[in-house]
Amino acid sequence: MGISSSLPRFAVGLGLALSACQGQIDGQPPTGAGGGAITGAGGTATGTSEPGVTLPASDLSSVAASCDPSAGASAEFAPMARLTRREYARSVKDLLGVDFAIANLQPDGIVGLFFANVSTPVSEAQVDEYRLAAEQIAEAATMDVAALTGCGPETGEACARSFVTSFGRRAFRRPLTTEETDGYLAIFRVGSGRGGFRGGIRLIVTGMLQSPSFLYRVEPSPRAGLGPVKLDGFELAARLSYLITASTPDAALLDAAGNGGLDSDAGLTAQAERLLASPAAASALGAFHGEWLKVSGLSEVEKDAGLFPTWNDELKRALTSETEHFVSYVLGQADGRFATLLTAPYSVIDPILAPLYGAAAPAAVGRVDFDPARRSGLLTQGAFLAVKAHDQQSSPVRRGIGLLQSVACIDMPPPPPALMVQAPKVDVTATTRERFAAHSNNPTCAACHTKIDPPGFAFESYDAIGQFRSTEAGKPIDTAVTLVNVAPDIDGSYPNTRAMLEHLATSKTAGDCYALQWFRYALKREPVMRDACTLKRALGAFQTSQGGVKDLVRALASADAFRYGVKEAEP
């Protein structure tokens, strides 16, 4: 039995009284953490990275305050990332116009709540998957080889060379070396043996899609120096593009990377601005929020067909799209604020979701306004409510843990070993809240569940697929809750769901946590002490804009941790 090693840090940072649950924490304290005190290099530039001590969300502001701008840029070693399945599929689509189903690749690793492949090496089966995928994609992409290459009927090696140069630059997100160009031309000649020009082009694409320069986000620049090294334009362009659009840089971004256009704050910010306004950003930002709330597994969620006959793949797809449509609307057409994501009394839905929400169906995907007493933002939408529920009943525990983890950055340990974890049986004479009361009556459970269950009970007016209900088992639903031991600025009593979410949405805890989540997503690691100035920039922009999501993302993208790299410390 143990818990993730990040928990003690959060626990200490938030001053939680874990009482009985404390006994479960047998993880080693983080190296040098000194009982939760933050150590590590300050804002100064040092030779190579030191083992970073990660920071709890509640300490972000005080760390940010320690930023010393005169000390120069500072950065931390960032492990090389392999593309996630979504990044792979979107890159393939943007490069070649080919649709690729992510189910063809094995699931991604995870950093915090987000998909990221930074630690585990690939397996042989995965390398095989990449190979088969590359062969199939190249076949599809070269059906109309003239359109792909721009070469006329008179084709030959000269045209192949120009394709290698131009397509290679996009696929590898940087210009090719002479050795690479020659190497892929040699591959072209082998491929021409079958199917002539098309066969040759097809084999070039097959090869490039298996290249480490495509599959990995390679950043060699930091190896060149002792201290923090500014990433070159192409490395930065790739970071920016995968952060905002979850895909490969477009032509304009590559051009900017090549002509020094990303070297200045103004140039970088202008590109970030441009990308944030693009359609690609809309769906990528929606996907961020899906991962943040851990609703990306919705397609695999099954419900009791007898109780929820409308639950089917079409409905699940519509709920997944709702997250994207809603986020895109708030960030593009509404005020763009984090608080609105958590409180909006409206959503943007597919007509088939209208019955689930008890709303009049829009003609096409569009905004519908709800009774503010019934819906407020992402946590009251079907995706979150259905994923965080059982197949027949709601789950105050899953919803409570989900809220703590995603919105307050508090990880909860798994239940003690050998405890049979089963939801209480459905009892037609009692409400869910009554049945889960056993948690607070049993001291073993109560240690953690007095913290978990109240925020979960606030969502009891939604059933297992997120439909609103005002009664259960013939009794009125009670959503009044008192939060305890979560965070000082959140603890307290709330008469209903909306009151709780409105308070959360503007709380410092939730705001700092949201910024922390973006940091993890952007950099695929936890923040450390030397990220002080990066955090200051991000939190500052977030606060100044009163919780502007795009302001936060833009600030992160122009901060030191994003623009600089440090090589890995080696003995």
């Binding site: 039995m1 143990g2 818990i3 993730s4 090693s5 990040s6 047998d26 993880g27 080693q28 070693f77 090389m80 189910a103 094995q106 699931p107 995870i110 915090g112 630690s119 090496p121 690939v122 397996s123 042989e124 089966a125 390398v127 095989d128 998957e129 088969l132 190497g183 892929y184 591959i187 082998v190 491929g191 043996g193 079958r194 084999l203 097959t206 090869g207 298996q210 290249s211 480490p212 320069s213 390679v218 060699p220 190896r223 851990k294 597994g297 695999e300 969620v301 099954e302 009791d304 994923v387 197949d391 798994p414 070993p417 050998a418 974890v421 049986k425 459905v426 090589k567 890995e568 080696e570």
Partner: protein
């Protein structure tokens, strides 16, 4: 662990053997009888031995599973039980083994049962894993027996081993420790392939080349690409730091091994033809839909049988669903009953196994259905001639479960071994080890020994020694 290593056959030997070890196209047809029983040359040397591990989740109803009359010494197997009825055609080649225990080490029994099933090792907790891990992330502390075998015979066939899964391989809530039972080493779960469509194209790649010229061209193309990728990986690796370099070096190892398989060793037996099975796979269905579950189980099993018959691999794991699986068995000929919770799913019912006869009967029918799948596998292998014996005689098929029964204990685990005469597995015997306190590690040792490993213990937490009494 002591592993006996034998030098792998030279490529030329392998090529010869593969070409001769043929399985006819009819293998893909649905009935077992369609297997053409003619595989391989008359063997002057010892037969080639294979190992197949099959997993079923959520325990069994032992009252209807255990055949009567078993003993510690192994009694002749008499009348088959309700859940094992489908094994009648291969009854003389079975060893039913009940009464072995697993240890929980304080973990959830599903979780420890899953990770410990073929590894014989305890789970490592998240704290011990000392790396950021998803929730419920305990992982087993050692390799599974099939992987110990595969590692010892590396390079003998196109694939050292194949991992088949049916159903999800990841969920939002359950970590990999709940979702897979095969490990290449401590804390290294090997997630299997759950799509028969992808599995088929990977395993039988190259078998569909229309002409020999085309096959030669395809090999040349792959070689040029894989050489290029390998070169880029090594060049790039030198420009990176330690941990990043390790990732690329690992990637490079895999590229080399794939290249060896596809280019240097691309032997496609002209008469080992997977085309009939391939045509059954032409139209893809959703591998995860509940309604498609029986079909996916059958397709994955057929691919495994064919891969063994073609000698593309000698070590296979077939994992049907995963621990706490919630499959709803709509195909048993009646509407699935509801348990006390109102649920129709397998795991929910398994908690009610002793509460009512409805659950007990439904669960027994589920066990029988899984038994039919394993019996199909065994009978299919038995229909293929392999030298002087059948492929089943030269294959040890082992059927196991992560927990014992609905009560979720790890005592009195159900195991069934089919075939494996060549391995020295008892034939037509009924073992009941209740009361002997024997751990299932003893069985794992016997499985390894049967495949040629020198073992006395297996699993990092093995507290005993030796094989199972009456076994090798």
């Amino acid at each position: 662990m002591n592993e006996s290593r034998k030098a792998p056959a030279s490529p030329a030997e392998r090529r010869y053997r593969l070409k001769r070890r043929a399985l006819l196209a009819a293998l893909g047809a649905s009935s077992v009888g369609a297997f053409v029983p003619r595989l391989g040359v008359a063997q002057s040397t010892a037969p080639i031995k294979r190992l197949v591990l099959v997993f079923q989740p959520n325990g069994v109803i032992m009252d209807n599973w255990r055949p009567a009359g078993g003993t510690v010494a192994g009694a002749p197997l008499g009348e088959l039980s309700r859940s094992l009825a489908a094994f009648e055609p291969v009854k003389s080649k079975l060893a039913v083994v009940t009464g072995l225990n697993k240890k929980s080490y304080g973990f959830d029994n599903h979780q420890q049962g899953m990770g410990g099933l073929w590894t014989g090792s305890r789970m490592l907790s998240e704290a011990e894993l000392s790396k950021p891990a998803p929730e419920n992330a305990a992982l087993a502390d050692g390799a599974s027996i099939d992987q110990a075998v595969a590692q010892a015979s590396k390079g003998s066939t196109r694939f050292d081993s194949l991992q088949f899964q049916v159903d999800r391989t990841s969920t939002g809530g359950l970590g990999p420790g709940w979702m897979t039972c095969i490990y290449s080493g401590p804390a290294q779960p090997m997630v299997g392939e759950n799509s028969p469509y992808k599995m088929f194209s990977r395993v039988f790649e190259g078998f569909t080349a229309a002409t020999p010229d085309e096959a030669v061209q395809l090999r040349a193309e792959r070689k040029s690409v894989l050489d290029r990728v390998a070169g880029e990986l090594s060049a790039l690796s030198t420009s990176l730091g330690k941990s990043d370099r390790a990732k690329l070096d690992q990637h490079l190892t895999h590229v080399r091994s794939i290249e060896k398989r596809l280019v240097d060793d691309a032997v496609v037996g002209p008469s080992c033809e997977p085309s009939a099975l391939g045509s059954k796979l032409a139209t893809a269905k959703d591998p995860l839909a509940n309604a498609n579950y029986p079909e996916m189980v059958r397709l994955q099993t057929d691919i495994a049988i064919l891969a063994l018959g073609c000698d593309l691999t000698r070590v296979v794991s077939l994992q049907y669903s995963y621990s706490v699986s919630g499959r709803v068995f709509n195909w048993l000929g009646y509407d699935p009953p509801k348990d006390t919770r109102g649920s129709t799913d397998h795991h929910d019912h398994s908690h009610d196994w002793d509460l009512n006869d409805v659950s007990k009967s439904y669960l027994s029918d589920i066990d029988r259905w899984y038994g039919e799948q394993v019996a199909y596998l065994a009978s299919s292998l038995d229909a293929v001639q392999d030298g002087d014996a059948t492929l089943l005689d030269n294959t040890c098929v082992v059927w196991g479960n992560e927990i014992a029964r609905g009560g979720h204990s790890l005592d009195d685990m159900p195991f069934l071994i089919a075939g494996g005469a060549a391995h020295g597995m008892p034939q037509g015997k009924n073992f009941d080890f209740r009361g002997s306190k024997a751990m299932h590690n003893r069985l794992l040792v016997s499985l390894g020994r049967g495949m040629g490993l020198s073992l006395d213990k297996f699993g990092t937490s093995d507290e005993g020694s030796g094989g199972l009494p009456g076994f090798v």
